[in-house]
C-alpha cells in the first residue's frame, strides 16, 4: 500500500518534471533555440563527466543540510525561515576557529569548527524559538528579520575586526591548513564534506523517521493540542526542532568555509537556506526526498550553467524554465486529483449507465 503510494508519487513527479521540460522546450523554440541541444547540454553539464558529476554533488551539500533543517522545523510546526542567518553565523563561527587555533591538527580542529558553527547556528535559532513559545511572537517575521541582522553583523566583523589583510575581499583570513577539507575531484569544489553530509542525512533520517523524538516532533507539528494531551512536552520539542534546524544551517555554513572557500566571505551564501526550504517543501519534509531533490536541484543548477555556456540560451530563460518546473512539481498532486476525479466520474457514469440499461 505504502510502497505503491511511493511509486505512484515518483511517477507523477517524473511526469510533472517532464511536462515542464516540454513547456521549456517550447519556450526555447519560440526563442529560436534548439531544445534538444539545450537539454543535451543540460544533462551533459550535470552528469557528463567526473568533474560535472562532482560539481553537481558539490552543489547538493548545502542544499541537503538546509533542506533537512527546514524539514525538522516545519515538521514541528515552527517555521524556521532564518536559515540564511544561521548559516552565516555558523560559517563565521567555523572560520573564527579556523583562523584562531591555527596549530590544531585537523582531527581536533575540524570537529571544533563544526561544533562552533553548530552552536552559533543553534543559538541563533534558539532566540526566535524562545520568543515563540514564551511570548507567542510569530517566528516567521522574527527569523526573517534575524537573517538580515546576521548578514550585516558578519559583514561588519569581516570588514573591520576580522578583515583579511590581503585580497581586499570582505572576508576573513584563510583558515589554517588543518581545517581545510580536501577536495575529491580535480577542479571541482567537491570535498570531503559530502561524507559528513551523508552521515548527517542518515542521522536526521533516523531521528525523524525512526525515533520517538522524531515521532513527537511530527505530532507536535500536526496537532499541538493532541500532543500535549498525549503527554508530549510541546514547547521543549519545538525548541529542540528549531535549535537542530539552526545547527544544521550553521553546519551548512561551516562546510562552505571549511570545504569550498577556506575563509568566511561577506556574501558566502547565494540563498542556500531559501533553496533548501523550497526543496523541503516540495518533498513535504521527507528526509529522503530532501536528499534526492537536492541532487536534482544541484544537477539543474550545474547543468543549466553548462547549457547557458554551450548553447547561448540565456540564463534568465533557464530560471523561467526552473520556475515552471517548480510550479508543476507543486501542482503535481492537484493535477493528479483533478485527473483522477475526472476519470472516476466517467467510470461511475459509465457504470451507472450500464446498470440502468
Amino acid at each position: 500500500m505504502k510502497k505503491f503510494k511511493n511509486a505512484e508519487y515518483l511517477i507523477s513527479l517524473f511526469l510533472s518534471i517532464l511536462a515542464s521540460l516540454i513547456i521549456g522546450a517550447f519556450i526555447m523554440l519560440a526563442n529560436g533555440r534548439n531544445p534538444v541541444t539545450g537539454y543535451v547540454a543540460l544533462i551533459n553539464g550535470a552528469f557528463g563527466s567526473k568533474y560535472n558529476i562532482a560539481t553537481t554533488f558539490a552543489k547538493t551539500v548545502p542544499l541537503v543540510l538546509t533542506g533537512l533543517a527546514t524539514s525538522i522545523s516545519f515538521r514541528s510546526g515552527i517555521s524556521n525561515i532564518g536559515g540564511e542567518g544561521q548559516l552565516y553565523l555558523g560559517a563565521f563561527g567555523a572560520a573564527l576557529i579556523g583562523i584562531t587555533f591555527v596549530n590544531l591538527p585537523g582531527i581536533v580542529g575540524i570537529p571544533l569548527a563544526l561544533a562552533a558553527s553548530l552552536i552559533a547556528g543553534g543559538l541563533y535559532a534558539l532566540f526566535p524559538a524562545i520568543l515563540k513559545v514564551r511570548y507567542n511572537i510569530d517566528e516567521v517575521i522574527v527569523t526573517i528579520m534575524l537573517n538580515t541582522v546576521a548578514v550585516l553583523l558578519t559583514s561588519y566583523l569581516v570588514n573591520y575586526p576580522f578583515a583579511s589583510e590581503i585580497g581586499k575581499m570582505g572576508g576573513t583570513e584563510i583558515i589554517a591548513e588543518g581545517y581545510q577539507l580536501s577536495r575529491l575531484v580535480r577542479l571541482s569544489t567537491l570535498n570531503t564534506s559530502i561524507f559528513y553530509v551523508a552521515v548527517i542525512s542518515i542521522i536526521m533520517y533516523y531521528l525523524l523517521e525512526r525515533t520517538s523524538i522524531g515521532y513527537e516532533i511530527k505530532m507536535v507539528g500536526q496537532n499541538s493540542n493532541f500532543s500535549r494531551y498525549g503527554g508530549i512536552n510541546v514547547k521543549r520539542r519545538m525548541i529542540f526542532a528549531m535549535v537542530v534546524s539552526g545547527a544544521l544551517c550553521g553546519i551548512a555554513g561551516a562546510f562552505e568555509v571549511l570545504g569550498v572557500h577556506y575563509r568566511f566571505l561577506q556574501h558566502i551564501s547565494p540563498g542556500y537556506a531559501w533553496d533548501g526550504m523550497l526543496i523541503a517543501l516540495i518533498v513535504k519534509n521527507n528526509p529522503i526526498g530532501v536528499v534526492l531533490m537536492s541532487i536534482f536541484f544541484g544537477a539543474l543548477k550545474t547543468g543549466s550553467i553548462s547549457m547557458e555556456n554551450a548553447t547561448g540560451i540565456p540564463s534568465e530563460l533557464i530560471s523561467v524554465i526552473q520556475s515552471i518546473i517548480i510550479l508543476f512539481i507543486a501542482g503535481e498532486s492537484g493535477f493528479k486529483t483533478k485527473i483522477k476525479s475526472f476519470l472516476a466520474n466517467r467510470r461511475a457514469i459509465k457504470k451507472a449507465g450500464e446498470k440502468n440499461a
Binding site: 520517538s212 500536526q222 496537532n223 498525549g230
Partner: protein, 518 residues
C-alpha cells in the same frame, strides 16, 4: 397522499475509494418531519449534502415539486427554499451572531455598504418570532454549542427556507435543549408549514418527533416507514442488519479505595472568566462517577484541570496520594490517568497522522515499542495497533490511512482503544459517545463498565443524561462552576436532577427516591 416535495432518484455518490451513496431513492413530503437514521458512515450526511448542493451526485436526479432540478451550489438549494443545519456548525467564530445569521444575505445601506444595525434588528426579529433567544452582538466563539445550534437554525430560517435539513442537531444538546429544539421544530412544521428532515442517532427522538423515518446502511436506503409503525427494536435492526440488545449492564462489586481527591479547585475559562468556583469531590476505584450538568458549566474546565491541560488558580488535586495540582499532562498520565477528551478532533487525535501514529501516542517511548525510549520498533507497534483495531472494532481499510479518513464513530473508537489500552487506574471520560451510532454506543458503554469492573476509577462527563444514568454508580451535578448535588445510583430521577443541573436546587439529597426506569 401528501404532495411530494422532493424526490431523490437513484442518487449515487462515489468518493475515491468509497461508494457513499448507492442508488438511493427517497421522497420528502410537504409538511412532514422526516427522520433519517443509520450507522456512522452510512451516507446520511453525504445524501443531504447532495441535496444542499455541496456535493454533486455521480449519477441520479433530484425532482423538486415534480420537476427535475439541478442543484449545483448551496445557492441553488437556498433559492429552492432548502436550508441545512450541519452536523459541525458552519459559523464563523470571530463574527458576531448577527453577522453569522445574515451571512450571504446581508442587508445593505446601498449597493456596497452592509447595514449592520439592520442585521441586528433582523436577528432580534427572528429571535422573537421563533422564540430562540440569542444576543445579536455576541461573538460566536464565546457561545455554548446550544446557542450556536439556535444561531444555525435562525440562519437557515432567515434565508427563507421551507425545507430544513438538520444533521444530528441533538448530538451536543442537553435534554432540556433537545426538548426546546423539538418544540421549535414542531412549531415550524405545524404553524408555519415547513418541512423538516432530521438526521439523528437517537431512536427515542425519532419515535418522539418524526412522521416518517428512512434507514440507511452502507450507502443504501434500507427502507422508509411510517413512524407509528416503528419501534426501537425494528429501527435498530434495520440499521445494523442484526438484532441489537440494550441489555442491562453487568456490575460487580469491587473494593473501593479513594484514588482521586479534588479540593476547592478554582480555574478560569479561555476568556479569563471564573469557570470553576471551588469544586471538591473524591473518586473511588471500582466506581463510575457521573458529572451531570448543562454544557458550559465548568465540566470541560474541570476535566482539563484534572488532566493537566489547564492551570488551576486555587485548590488541590491528589492522585493516589500524590500531589498532582497543575502538573504537566505527561506527569499526570504517568500517575496512571487516561483521558477521553470531549473534542476528539481538536484534542483526541491528529487528523493528518496515520491510525498507527494516533494509536501509539503515549506508548511511543515505552518498551518494547521504543528501545531505550528512543528507537521505535515498527513490528511491535504495528502488532499492538492492529490488535487494538480488532479488539475495539475500529473500521478502517488499513492502519496506514490517515485518521481523517475515518467516520466520526470510528475516530471515537480509535481514541477509546488507545486510552483504554493503558493499564490506567483512573479514566477521565468526556462525552464518550457523542455523534456515535447505536452499535458503537453499546460497545463503548460495555467497555466502560468492563473497566469499572476491573477496578478502575472512572469519571464520566456527559451531556447525555441517559448515558449518565445508565453508567454511573454515583452522580454529582454541576452548575456554574459549583457542585450542586451528589446522588447514589437510582437515588434521583432524570426529571428531578434537572433542577440541580440548572441551579434551582442545591445540596445533598436525603433518602432514596425510586428512580424512573432507565
Amino acid at each position: 397522499m401528501a404532495e411530494k416535495l422532493i424526490e431523490l432518484k437513484e442518487i449515487t455518490k462515489q468518493f475515491p475509494g468509497v461508494l457513499a451513496n448507492d442508488r438511493v431513492s427517497l421522497d420528502i413530503e410537504k409538511g412532514e418531519i422526516h427522520a433519517i437514521i443509520g450507522e456512522n458512515g452510512a451516507g446520511k450526511s453525504t445524501l443531504m449534502k447532495i441535496l444542499y448542493g455541496l456535493y454533486q451526485p455521480t449519477s441520479g436526479e433530484i425532482y423538486f415539486k415534480g420537476k427535475p432540478v439541478s442543484i449545483k451550489t448551496p445557492l441553488d438549494a437556498i433559492k429552492l427554499g432548502i436550508g441545512m443545519v450541519h452536523q459541525h456548525f458552519m459559523l464563523v467564530p470571530s463574527f458576531t451572531v448577527a453577522e453569522n445569521i445574515v451571512l450571504g444575505v446581508e442587508p445593505r445601506k446601498n449597493r456596497f455598504m452592509m447595514d449592520y444595525r439592520k442585521a441586528v434588528s433582523i436577528t432580534e426579529e427572528l429571535s422573537k418570532t421563533y422564540g430562540l433567544k440569542v444576543d445579536p452582538n455576541a461573538k460566536v466563539e464565546s457561545l455554548s454549542v446550544g446557542i450556536q445550534q439556535r444561531i444555525e437554525i435562525l440562519k437557515v430560517l432567515n434565508k427563507g427556507a421551507d425545507i430544513i435539513i438538520l444533521d444530528e442537531p441533538t448530538a451536543v444538546l442537553t435534554p432540556q435543549e433537545t426538548e426546546e429544539l423539538f418544540k421549535v421544530i414542531r412549531k415550524l412544521v405545524e404553524e408555519l408549514g415547513k418541512t423538516v428532515i432530521i438526521i439523528t442517532h437517537k431512536l427515542q427522538e425519532v419515535l418522539a418527533l418524526s412522521d416518517r423515518v428512512s434507514v440507511m446502511r452502507q450507502g443504501r436506503l434500507v427502507g422508509t416507514l411510517k413512524t407509528k409503525d416503528a419501534t426501537e427494536q425494528i429501527l435498530a435492526e434495520m440499521m445494523v442488519g442484526r438484532e441489537v440488545l440494550f441489555e442491562e449492564l453487568n456490575r460487580i462489586e469491587v473494593p473501593r479505595e479513594e484514588v482521586l481527591t479534588v479540593k476547592g479547585i478554582k480555574a478560569r475559562d479561555n476568556r479569563g472568566l471564573m469557570a470553576l468556583k471551588g469544586v471538591s469531590f473524591s473518586l473511588y476505584s471500582g466506581e463510575i462517577l457521573g458529572i451531570a450538568g448543562v454544557e458550559g458549566n465548568g465540566q470541560s474546565e474541570l476535566v482539563e484541570v484534572l488532566t493537566g491541560l489547564r492551570q488551576a488558580e486555587e485548590g488541590s488535586v491528589m492522585i493516589k496520594g500524590v500531589e498532582a495540582t497543575n502538573k504537566e499532562p505527561m506527569e499526570i498520565r504517568n500517575l496512571g490517568v487516561s483521558h477521553i477528551p470531549e473534542d476528539r478532533l481538536a484534542t483526541g487525535l491528529s487528523k493528518k497522522a496515520t491510525i498507527t501514529e494516533n494509536m501509539i501516542l503515549g506508548y511511543h517511548n515505552r518498551e518494547p515499542y521504543a528501545t531505550k525510549g528512543i528507537h521505535m520498533n515498527k513490528k511491535p507497534i504495528r502488532e499492538r495497533v492492529s490488535r487494538l483495531i480488532k479488539e475495539f472494532d475500529v473500521r478502517t481499510p488499513s492502519q496506514d490511512v490517515t485518521a481523517d479518513k475515518l467516520s466520526g464513530g470510528n475516530m471515537q473508537k480509535m481514541v477509546i482503544a488507545r486510552e483504554f489500552s493503558f493499564d490506567s487506574s483512573i479514566l477521565i471520560v468526556a462525552q464518550p459517545t457523542r455523534g456515535v451510532d447505536i452499535g458503537a454506543i453499546e460497545f463503548i458503554h460495555k467497555e466502560i463498565i468492563k473497566k469499572r469492573n476491573e477496578g478502575a476509577a472512572i469519571l464520566l462527563v456527559s451531556a447525555d443524561l441517559d448515558e449518565i444514568f445508565r453508567l454511573s454508580d454515583r452522580i454529582i451535578t454541576i452548575y456554574e462552576g459549583e457542585i450542586t448535588g451528589e446522588f447514589k445510583r437510582r437515588e434521583i430521577s432524570k426529571k428531578e436532577i434537572g433542577l440541580y443541573m440548572t441551579g434551582k436546587r442545591k445540596g445533598m439529597r436525603q433518602g432514596g427516591v425510586q428512580d424512573e426506569e432507565i
